[in-house]
């Protein structure tokens, strides 16, 4: 295992080592300590490795991650796992705004709450939040699934495209063009699998509601002017 103490070395050294394929290919276990809210920790990884980040992190932790499985034993600042392509990012605490923004793939698990705009413009990632999500979550979300085991804030799924939203608790309000849709067997199966991957198999999929796009804003229509 490689250990980085960010009191002894800086984030640049950590990321440089992670991007050095001679090092990263031969080291499958990584641990980072004394994070102290530093920004851009473990960004741009392109290797299959396991990383434990022990502590709170600042902005953009695990940004653009590919392949790596990263666990943050703490809270996260804005933009965790932004534009992630693959792999898994698991947050033991809460996540600030824009969690999983524009992410294309992989799995983001937030065991606490996520702030506003969780999954904004997501493009294929699956996000599972054990707690609540803030307002404008899944804004303009294109692909993938957002699973909220708690409540969702205002304007959930505003201007939604093809992403699927599953919410177990209350939804303060739905955004433009976001509607509740029937929870069919295929959706329950999909949700069950996502909860299993998130280590939340004990949660009953029957307690969830599904939300998706009404697709009325897909092509400009003057009759929808009130929604613009």
């Amino acid at each position: 295992m490689i250990e980085f103490d960010l009191d002894q070395s800086d984030v640049r050294e950590l990321n440089a080592a992670l991007h050095n394929s001679d090092i990263a290919k031969n080291q499958s276990k990584w641990k980072v300590r004394n994070t102290k809210g530093r920004h851009a920790i473990a960004v741009g990884i392109d290797e299959t490795l396991e990383m434990l980040i022990d502590g709170h992190v600042g902005y953009y932790c695990a940004g653009m991650n590919k392949h790596a499985n990263i666990t943050v034993n703490g809270h996260c600042g804005p933009g965790v796992a932004e534009n992630m392509m693959s792999g898994t990012v698991r947050i033991k605490g809460n996540a600030s705004q824009y969690a999983g923004a524009t992410a294309h793939g992989g799995l983001l698990v937030i065991e606490g709450d996520a702030s506003s705009r969780c999954g904004i413009s997501m493009k294929g990632v699956d996000i599972v939040v054990k707690g609540n999500v803030g307002h404008m979550s899944a804004f303009m979300a294109q692909k993938g699934c957002l699973v909220v085991c708690g409540d969702a804030g205002d304007a959930l799924g505003d201007s939604l495209y093809e992403a699927r939203l599953y919410v177990r608790g209350k939804v303060a309000s739905l955004g433009a063009d976001c509607i509740e849709k029937p929870m069919k067997l295929e959706h329950k199966a999909e949700l069950k699998e996502l909860l299993k991957q998130a280590n939340l198999s004990d949660i009953n999929v029957d307690e969830f509601h599904r939300y998706g796009s009404a697709r009325t804003l897909y092509n400009f229509n003057i009759d929808n002017v009130g929604a613009y």
């Binding site: 984030v11 640049r12 990321n15 440089a16 991007h19 920004h39 851009a40 960004v43 741009g44 392109d46 600042g58 902005y59 953009y60 940004g63 653009m64 590919k66 804005p78 933009g79 932004e82 534009n83 392509m85 824009y98 923004a101 524009t102 294309h104 705009r117 904004i120 413009s121 493009k123 294929g124 804004f139 303009m140 294109q142 692909k143 201007s159 495209y161 093809e162 897909y218 092509n219 400009f220 003057i222």
Partner: protein
């Protein structure tokens, strides 16, 4: 006098309601839609035409045309990047997306730019293998939509351009209309085919310059501080935007004036938001100078650059390089009289075509129709663009030599005067024949 001549002699057109205004009101009433179009602002605004160079004479020493060297090279990204960009000419190709443009058109931009040693830029929708393959220096745009954004392409780029806005629509997002969303474009953007694709007006994961500083840090960490990071803004509050971009850590700043083109924007936006590039250059240079960052953070300006005279004047005001968009498309063949008959079928004429949003471009440039795109030869198009870029460069050198400059960057405001009060005030050069700079010196 014929009956028609007799009629024309007493008809008086309204200055407030000329025929094009009447036609727009009638069109709006009929459709209930605002006018969306491509191209840039069509109204007259103070521009580089309102400036003149003072060639050398008794007090200045000119350089010999065709003999004495007048260097045109420019280095961009010297502030933080390990690998700054080296360009042979100070004229770059602005960001234009695959989606807005056909794949062969993007290829031609890469071919033409590479032939003369300059850069081209991706645009919204991601990087295509064609443009990467044919562009020796490629700038990868990070836009609010993040369509097609991925770390592999990010690491293939020679520089990254964080787009805050563009001159045609500062403060506005974009919309690629469904008719241009082919299967390939849809796939690159992770959206269904045929639907309108909204490009957001704000970035999804930062909200202000303090956040942007951290975002840029992340981009540098992902790319190991190898490549320059530009920030592009539409020209509005340019002085402050430039200062904030420097503070956010930009290696280079791109300022796009209101004349800058677009693939699809509301006409009201194109014509009524933003400021011309003429005052914007000066404002950006003043901000950089005040921060002791002029020539340390490179300034690229765009928006209505057409000739070597425009290039030379932009450089003389303090820019390090310019970018061209609409002019590059025209060089490729956009609005060519060769297709006059087809332009007529679309209700327009060569020289007037601006419906880039419709995807029916007869020349095959601003389209995703395979049939139309096939008409466009990327090799020939690339050669035409290279020719045009060479002409711009020669013209710029001609003017610089006339002012006695051995490098085009040695041109300075002192080499110019203004023809109009407006241009004198905006560019802060004297009104021709006087020492008067309105707002700076007393008459």
């Amino acid at each position: 006098m014929t009956q028609e001549e007799n009629l024309n002699s007493w008809l008086k057109e309204s200055a407030t309601f000329p025929r094009h205004v009447i036609a727009e009101i009638q069109r709006a009433a009929k459709t209930g839609l605002y006018d969306i179009r491509g191209y840039g602002a069509k109204r007259h605004v103070p521009c580089f035409d309102d400036l003149l160079f003072l060639g050398a004479s008794m007090s200045r020493y000119p350089l010999e045309g065709y003999r004495e060297k007048c260097d045109t090279s420019v280095t961009i990204g010297t502030r933080f990047a390990k690998n700054p960009i080296e360009l042979k000419i100070p004229i770059t190709i602005a960001g234009m997306s695959f989606g807005a443009l056909s794949a062969p058109a993007k290829e031609a931009l890469g071919r033409g730019a590479s032939e003369v040693g300059t850069s081209t830029t991706t645009g919204d929708g991601g990087m295509t293998p064609e443009e990467r393959g044919h562009s020796s220096t490629l700038i990868y745009q990070l836009l609010p939509s993040r369509y097609g954004m991925n770390p592999d392409d990010l690491r293939k780029a020679d520089a990254i351009e964080v787009v805050i806005g563009q001159g045609a629509k500062p403060g506005g997002g974009g919309m690629l209309l469904g008719q241009k969303i082919s299967e390939r474009v849809a796939g690159m953007r992770d959206l269904p085919q045929g639907i309108d694709q909204r490009s957001a007006c704000r970035h999804p994961d930062w909200t202000g310059p303090d956040d942007l500083e951290i975002k840029i840090l992340e981009l540098r960490e992902i790319t190991d501080w190898q490549v320059p990071i530009y920030i592009k803004v539409g020209a509005t509050r340019t002085y402050y935007d430039t200062m904030l971009a420097v503070k956010a850590g930009a290696d280079a700043i791109v300022v796009d004036g209101m004349q800058g083109g677009t693939a699809a924007t509301q006409d009201v936006f194109i014509e009524h938001v933003g400021i011309p590039i003429l005052p914007a250059v000066r404002l950006a240079v003043e901000a950089l100078t005040e921060m002791d960052m002029h020539r340390k953070v490179q300034l690229i300006v765009s928006g209505g650059i057409r000739s070597g005279a425009d290039v030379a004047k932009a450089l003389a005001l303090g820019a390090d390089a310019v970018a061209i968009g609409v002019a590059a498309l025209i060089a490729l063949g956009d609005n060519s009289p060769e297709y006059e008959e087809e332009y007529r079928k679309l209700g327009t004429s060569a020289g007037y075509y601006d419906d880039y949003q419709d995807g029916k471009d007869p020349v095959g440039i601003s389209t995703q129709s395979e049939e139309l795109a096939k008409r466009f030869d990327p090799i020939l198009g690339g050669r035409k663009l290279a020719n045009y870029l060479r002409v711009l460069t020669l013209e710029t050198q001609t003017l610089a030599r006339a002012c006695g400059k051995s490098h085009v960057h040695n041109l300075e405001p002192e080499d110019m005067v203004a023809l109009t009060l407006e241009a004198a005030a905006m560019a802060k050069v004297p009104l021709a024949g006087t020492n008067w700079i309105p707002g700076v010196t007393k008459l």
